[in-house]
Symmetry: C2
Subunit: 340 residues, 2 copies
């Protein structure tokens, strides 16, 4: 470590929720919107998913202050068919859209075996696991993806056109948390590269290119250049797939179009999200849950491997107190002090 | 190149079809089953997807001869809900199952925006692009995946539990072929490693592990060891996702279970397949096709990149004559000479 660990402060999850909700409402969000974002932030801190927790609050607030995001959004759900819904997020943050669409999606998937929501005009600024975990908790397989801003070049090129384009997947498990995969299709998150650049650290070769399009391990040069997808041509193809699924398939923008309409206030840009739910009861029918548990046992018995998402669930069991960056906490407390 | 190019023989696509159908029927397949496999083989040769063309015929024949696969299969389609079908392939090769299920899937997806087929008891021995291309040709987004035999170790471990677990994705394009992604989630196909081993060639580090669990570039050692997923932990998680989607989700086996019930005759083992179809007309609704074409233009304008599947479509335009391995051709002709 080049730098000393930053000073941390202990704070309870209840306090994180209260503070997050307060800062949102002080900056114009209503109760319902403030609570939806506060819950997302609190659950991220609870699971040790720190880069999606309090760290995001200044961005949420910038987007409220600039007027880009509507803190009083009341999303509108339109049923296109018994299994397809479009959710107009009404320019609000994504968590409020999820509050308005997930229960209908679950009902459709349980009844018909399959369902999808196209979320439009939402501002997504968090991880994707909460959405699919919620589906997994109801015995459904969940899949979701979003695109973002064009920071990632396709393999072979040096012009960014993809977002970091994460997707998430959940598999339901009886009497325990779903198995959840949540990954960016970029080699690394831009935030991680920026932190490595700040701290003068190297990153693995393949993470990105310098501004002149050269492969480099120098994080500072990549921060001025472009990221690359994970996994070479295959990862690049998956990033392309996410652009299509979270863009035109759901009636929303590609990452490059998202950037064109964003006001660059530092808050989350507006874009689309696809959420799919599938019922193993209807698709498979027999014994799928026990069969999968036997597989997971076999998988976890392999030395050196663990199930995706296991670390978050471990962190989740870690009581009610979390250590958070003291400077960030002070900043958020200051943000609660002034109206917009 | 260590070895000289193998002697090739010119043959027309029509002859490839006729020969493939004949060898199937001589070994007990009926007209319908023989034609379904022959079409798959011919289309693979047409597109230059050589490892899924005539190269597979000896395996198809072994599976007919051993009685593992039913060459007179008449798949049964059961409608579980208006958008969910289960297709019992009746122990036949996958292409015959596709003949029986794809039109119903397309109709459901066009009407309701979304549809899925669980294929059970099928023997898949080809690429996945034909299924999704067929959906793409009808203005639908397609997704499919299968698992296989346990040849791939999860990242961190050295015990194989995943199949090479390919998936495919198609995006419909107006007045032209769909954009199609088709990839194994392993670093490389086992066949490619075996060929490199035979020819004394090295493979990239990360392709697989030796029998003692060590990373190596020596293809011969990997052929005796295990393959690894592409793209590190992320690719490993995707391989895991495919195990679940093509296994218990559709009422079928994991790769390790597939191996347990296979007779090791060299033909394709029995397993499941998930096929999903989504309608951008219903999910997105507006202008998705033009919007995506603009994106593809922008994408293809980036120096050094090309759309996935472009090479296959280029090969497809290459007239009616193909060069095929002369030794393989002789072997297949010999196989047409004797009854089972």
């Amino acid at each position: 470590m080049k730098n000393p660990a930053p000073p941390n402060k202990e704070i309870s999850l209840d306090e994180i929720f209260t503070l997050s909700k307060k800062v949102m409402t002080v900056h114009g969000a209503n109760e319902e919107n403030g609570e939806a974002v506060a819950e997302t932030v609190t659950n991220a801190e609870r699971d040790g998913s720190v880069s999606h927790g309090l760290f995001r609050i200044p961005g949420y607030i910038k987007a409220l202050d600039s007027g880009k995001v509507n803190g009083n959004a009341k999303p509108v759900l339109e049923e296109i068919s018994p299994v397809i819904m479009r959710c107009d997020a009404q320019n609000g943050f994504a968590p409020i859209a999820h509050k308005y669409c997930l229960s209908s999606l679950k009902a459709a998937a349980k009844k018909y075996g399959l369902g999808a929501v196209s979320i439009q005009r939402a501002h997504h600024f968090a991880a994707l696991w909460p959405e699919v975990e919620s589906l997994g908790n109801e015995g459904l397989v969940g899949f979701t993806c979003v695109s973002y801003l064009p920071w990632v070049a396709p393999i072979g090129g040096s012009t960014p056109i993809f977002g970091t384009n994460p997707f998430a997947f959940a598999w339901p498990r009886p009497n325990q948390n779903p198995m959840v995969i949540d990954m960016a299709t970029s080699s690394m998150a831009m935030g991680e590269v920026q932190i490595a650049a700040r701290d003068g650290l190297d990153v693995p070769i393949g993470t990105g290119l310098s501004a002149s399009g050269k492969l480099t391990t120098n994080a500072a040069e990549i921060a001025k250049g472009v990221l690359l997808p994970f996994g070479g041509h295959k990862g690049s193809a998956i990033a392309l797939m996410v652009e299509l699924l979270a863009g035109p398939l759901v009636g929303e923008t590609f990452s490059y179009e998202t950037a064109e309409r964003d006001n660059s206030d530092g808050g989350p840009p507006q874009g689309g999200q696809l959420i799919l739910a599938l019922s193993p009861d209807l698709l498979g029918g027999i014994n799928w849950a026990n069969q999968a548990e036997q597989f997971f046992d076999k998988f976890e018995a392999i030395e050196g491997v663990r199930l995706p998402g296991a670390r978050r669930y471990k962190n989740r069991k870690d009581g009610n107190i979390r250590k958070v960056n003291a400077e960030l906490l002070e900043k958020i407390v200051r943000l609660t002090k002034h109206d917009r």
